[in-house]
Assembly symmetry: C2
Homo-oligomer: 384 residues x 2
């Protein structure tokens, strides 16, 4: 896989959580797809079977990863669309509470705030960041569930929680949270931002009403294509909001109803060649091992990095133990995080900074080598 | 231009209103863009200037075509997103009326119906189809304005009207409609579906609150990228709905406000290489002449087709005169429209059918040759 990615050839790359590298076979698949569309179409009877084939191929692959049937998987442009679109069409009542973890991405938070403003809902916060700092992964699940227990009220209608937190790199106990929510009298919806989990940890067991991800991070697909796995009850109760020809059962008629499956949340013309590219990236990843095997490889890299960071004066990792996946967050005393990113970048070493909490984040993927990790550690030592 | 499009090399193509052919230089630009992103990034400080450059390039080109400043142009995935997203965040009051022409695309109609359901608005219809059948283009503008006059009420809050009707192929007097709406006490919003007008007729004068289009039809760009030109008052009064990092003034913070310019309606990660492709297609079109010069070329083709259709027994054109742009709609007695499309397709001749009204539609673009038109006319004569 590593040798197939031109992005990794001329730099030392640790930003998989921002965007994954695009393997050359995936770019070639995108190209071939476009050429085939031009050859058959673009808009002819002859082209539709090809478009259906490429769309179905990626939909099936993504659905299988999420452990749901294809009919529950909608293709989206990005993780935000997947998180937010199904949300707007849920049946809200004024006074309903949205319980949002304090580690969610600002985009999703802002969308929830705007939803709350228009529908007169109330935002509550679920504290998890501090728990991540102070608990090892074994104890963390119980601590998060206890935090949830305290925060839940009879008015809670939605819980928003990432599967793999983008800032601390901790894994949240999504299956247990889902089970707990089912016991609430009004069974709140569960929205899971899977931007960091999809492609980096097994996600098959992560039952949620909305499980939204992108293909361009850990799955190493092209930017501009993601998906969302939806629960059956959401498909039955949520109306689409951004409605176009792909949402409609019969394209030709607005009076026809919406698709009853996940396509009701798809919109209109999107870029089909991206489907060919993402499907290829998923095949390349699969050839490297099962999700569990790949996670072990990712963990072996993040463990090496986390352990190395403990030996550098002035460096403090966010987590008290080696991370459960590939995100390694830390601070370095004496230099602003922006300055660290810049100084490392000058050496061709790429990590990123985060605002909340203000920290640095380096990611290891299955393509990361021990030599790269050691190079990063040396460069950080030199800066410290 | 024609020789640059592989799609036109192996078929006789008349479906520009469905999708335009992608010129090889545009596909090459998409590829180069992806390669450059991998070389610089994908997610590094070094890549952002390139991404900003490619995004700004297409935004400026599209804004210039629409006669607005770049700050009023949002990039979208497709024409539906451009039509519908700004709509949801407008300040609605129960009982407001949406006045929709009877020639709008089912996707936009269905979105308006869902908006009406949730916000308790009322849908009214603006009859224009029958006017298109019975008036020549000179008389049509006055007839549409008279129809508008009759349909407007004190409760009308939005008018939905395409610039170039996708079914009849008539041009609507958007500037005059906009001027008339300004005289209403409550100045209703004007939403214009520009799916067929952008890239086929000059659109610089078409002032609207929402002027939404795609790059993949008459502009011959890649599928998956479009845009919407927004009025200043809309930017000031409409809140975004599908909110992600690109909508936020400061990506890092949900508490920061939204962008005050059109970016407030952009969402999250999308496919930047598509920007490079569409910018290239727009440059190729520009090299062929001004929008007005290209329209003359388009009209010369559609006129030849329309005139030829008059001579075929059993064929009836929708319009009583040669079309004002490139869409030529007609019926052929004795065969279902689906059967006609299929039979022509077997000969490598591609037109499409429409449901409402049930008819056939063939399009001429600047790439259409007289020989192609004559070939279509002969094939239709043989079928008739």
């Amino acid at each position: 896989m590593r040798t197939l990615c031109p992005a990794l050839a001329n730099k030392t790359y640790f930003n998989y959580g921002g965007q994954g590298p695009l393997p050359t076979p995936s770019l070639q698949a995108i190209n071939s797809s476009w050429q085939r569309i031009q050859e058959l179409g673009p808009f002819t009877n002859d082209v539709w079977p090809f478009i259906e084939q490429e769309t179905a191929r990626v939909r099936q692959a993504l659905a299988a990863l999420c452990g749901v049937g294809s009919h529950r998987l909608a293709l989206t442009e990005n993780v935000t669309s997947g998180c937010v679109l199904p949300l707007w069409g849920l049946p809200w009542d004024g006074g309903d509470q949205l319980l949002i973890s304090d580690c969610e991405h600002p985009g999703v938070v802002a969308a929830c705030q705007e939803l709350a403003r228009r529908e007169r809902l109330e935002i509550r916060w679920l504290p998890v960041l501090e728990l991540c700092r102070t608990h090892d992964q074994n104890a963390l699940a119980a601590a998060v569930l206890a935090s949830l227990e305290q925060a839940l009220t009879a008015q809670t209608r939605l819980v928003v929680l990432s599967h793999l937190l983008w800032n601390s790199g901790s894994v949240m106990p999504i299956a247990a949270v889902a089970a707990r929510l089912k016991q609430q009298p009004n069974q709140p919806w569960l929205l899971v931002d899977a931007a960091q989990s999809m492609g980096s940890i097994p996600v098959e067991e992560a039952a949620a009403d909305i499980y939204a991800f992108t293909g361009h991070k850990w799955c190493c697909g092209p930017e501009g294509l993601g998906g969302v796995a939806l629960s059956q009850r959401l498909l039955e109760q949520a109306q689409p909001t951004l409605i176009g020809w792909r949402s409609l059962r019969h394209e030709a008629s607005a009076a026809s109803s919406f698709h009853s499956d996940a396509r009701r949340f798809e919109v209109a013309t999107s870029c089909v060649p991206l489907c060919s590219g993402l499907a290829t990236s998923l095949e390349l990843l699969e050839a490297e091992g099962t999700p569990a095997q790949r996670l072990e490889q990712i963990q072996s890299g993040s463990r090496r990095l986390w352990q190395g960071l403990q030996t550098i004066e002035g460096v403090k990792t966010l987590l008290p133990e080696p991370p459960p996946a590939g995100l390694v967050s830390f601070t370095l005393a004496g230099l602003s995080s922006a300055a660290v990113v810049e100084r490392l970048g000058e050496q061709g070493l790429w990590i990123r900074r985060l605002d909340d909490p203000d920290c640095l984040r380096a990611c290891t993927h299955i393509t990361t080598t021990e030599a790269e990790i050691d190079e990063l550690l040396e460069a950080l030592s030199a800066l410290a």
